[in-house]
Symmetry: C2
Subunit: 331 residues, 2 copies
């Protein structure tokens, strides 16, 4: 029943790729706010690893609008993301990018929304907590497919089909992981029921999901203090604030940054009694081709981390949708 | 008595500039750890604003070494920073950059140290808490002079002399600010004596000094929890964790990101009773040419913020040099 939507989004990505092909794109800016910015980070990370044909920067939309980079212009592709399509900072950033001559594209769940009227290419994704769509239609799988479409464009490669197939398996892989780790998720909730602060620690592509866990889950949804510490930075200042009673969630990925994360985990095992490690090496990624596992593992860890926070929300009777400011007061 | 050192560092910057002139530099990577990475951030910020001739990225040294960007190569300039000259991650990153054919330079306080043996160009700075050198010889003034030397190289401009002159006045401006705000610093210490967590909030170039305040002052030196929140990101998740009793230090700069920071301050004034605002508009910057004030104001705010934390350290009898892990245990 969702074939039409899947075909539509693939066509939207293909249309953007064709437009980018007609320009000499030198810079890509990913621009949004909060979780919507973090979900674009894989574009930066993957292109930084896979090609030398383009520079990618990640910028908060308000900062981008008020203080645009000098390089923004005809040779720029600006990729935005606004779930509602109306985030004021992101719409303003899109308009500015368009005025400066950049090629513009925006992810959004709302066809016809403000941002669609401003950008050259919309890319729809689908997100309805009440009647969930297939995970394939959610933001991350689409971002990954766009990233690989751009890799193919810039390198003359043909990597997108492999990523498309892998993304079709993502939902099953994530569901299995959440099911396998359900006891650990409940245990996490029990242990952190009354904790006021939970740090996250990560490096590499895990930075994306650690930011989401800190910003969107712990801070926004369950009102706990947090900070997304970089595993390599930890040893140069931040570690001194961590004691035996400091809760930390540390990520271990499969990519080349794993040694950076492992060093942090070994240190944290010694200094805090409240360490939770989410290790991609413990995941069953059978359906994912080995060469893509380092890129896709963070998405599975993200499912786990989200469930860990959801269990905390359930146990404490603080719904994930509770807000005291966002959508409640004007700011 | 320090004329020789001033002349030496100017010559070191000029030598790097001449070497960069002989190459077609397309990418600059600033690479270090912790406070040493944050102090290089102005290179990224200033070049992003002033030129479209180069792309600048800031990367933690451990991540850079384990997972180098695809673009790293002959057309790269890699600028490192290690106070001791021996930071293992930074020395490894320097070696890798050199092997990949990049032009390399490193700031360090120790002539002849490990990093100097690896890079093409050392740039010395001077830092001795016991017998302080003139501020002109410390890391920030030198970083700013290098940034403007690179702007001149890339744009064919002649901005460096103005920045050099401004930097000669920086110490007097900072001393006056610290003196003017001494009552506020003591008040900050009194109010935050028992606080376990203090957030920082900033945008634009203030991100550099907010990271240092969070990472090096609050976390490393006085063992408080903290996170360097982005003023534009605040509204998209993090704000929900902030209540009436949450301490926050918010920065207000003079540059184009001031509206982003002002919006955060207005919000924070409503939601927390424990807000401290460090506002560059309240500073006396008489000696600094107006067109440079937006770049230099953060350095003056940094002096203030450091003094605020120092007063907290004095009041609580927790010396700024206290460490429980760094230099104490192996990791």
């Amino acid at each position: 029943m969702h074939e039409e939507k899947v075909a539509l989004t693939k066509n939207q990505i293909a249309a953007l790729r064709r437009a980018a092909e007609t320009r000499s794109i030198q810079d890509i800016f990913v621009v949004a706010c909060g979780g919507s910015l973090a979900t674009l980070y894989p574009i930066l990370y993957i292109l930084d690893r896979e090609t030398n044909a383009v520079h990618v920067s990640s910028v908060n939309a308000a900062e981008f609008f008020h203080n645009p980079p000098h390089r923004l212009g005809d040779h720029s592709l600006v990729i935005l993301n606004s779930q509602s399509g109306t985030t004021p900072e992101t719409v303003s950033a899109a308009r500015l990018a368009h005025e400066r001559g950049a090629l513009t594209a925006a992810f959004t769940t709302v066809p016809g929304s403000a941002i669609e009227t401003v950008v050259d290419f919309p890319i729809y994704y689908y997100d309805d907590p009440i009647n969930p769509y297939p995970l394939l239609l959610s933001i991350f799988p689409e971002v990954y497919q766009l990233a690989f479409a751009l890799v193919d464009l810039l390198n003359g490669s043909n990597c997108l089909p492999g990523m498309e197939t892998a993304m079709e398996h993502l939902e099953a892989v994530c569901q299995r992981a959440v099911s396998d780790f359900a006891p650990q998720a409940r245990e996490f909730a029990r242990k952190h029921r009354t904790e006021q602060l939970i740090y996250t620690v990560s490096a590499g592509l895990d930075r994306c999901i650690a930011y989401i866990l800190t910003n969107c889950s712990f801070m926004e949804s369950v009102w706990r203090h947090s900070s997304p510490l970089h595993a390599g930075e930890l040893f140069h200042g931040a570690c001194e604030a961590i004691g035996k009673d400091t809760p930390v969630v540390a990520f271990l990925g499969l990519g080349r940054c794993r040694p950076v994360e492992e060093r942090a985990v070994k240190f944290l095992q010694r200094v805090t009694d409240k360490l939770t490690v989410l290790d991609a090496a413990a995941l069953d990624l059978t359906e994912i081709p080995e060469e893509l596992q380092e890129y896709i593992a963070p998405l599975v860890l993200h499912s786990l981390a989200s469930d860990f926070c959801l269990q905390l929300s359930h146990l404490t009777g603080h719904p994930m949708s509770s807000r005291r400011y966002m959508g409640v007061v004007k700011f």
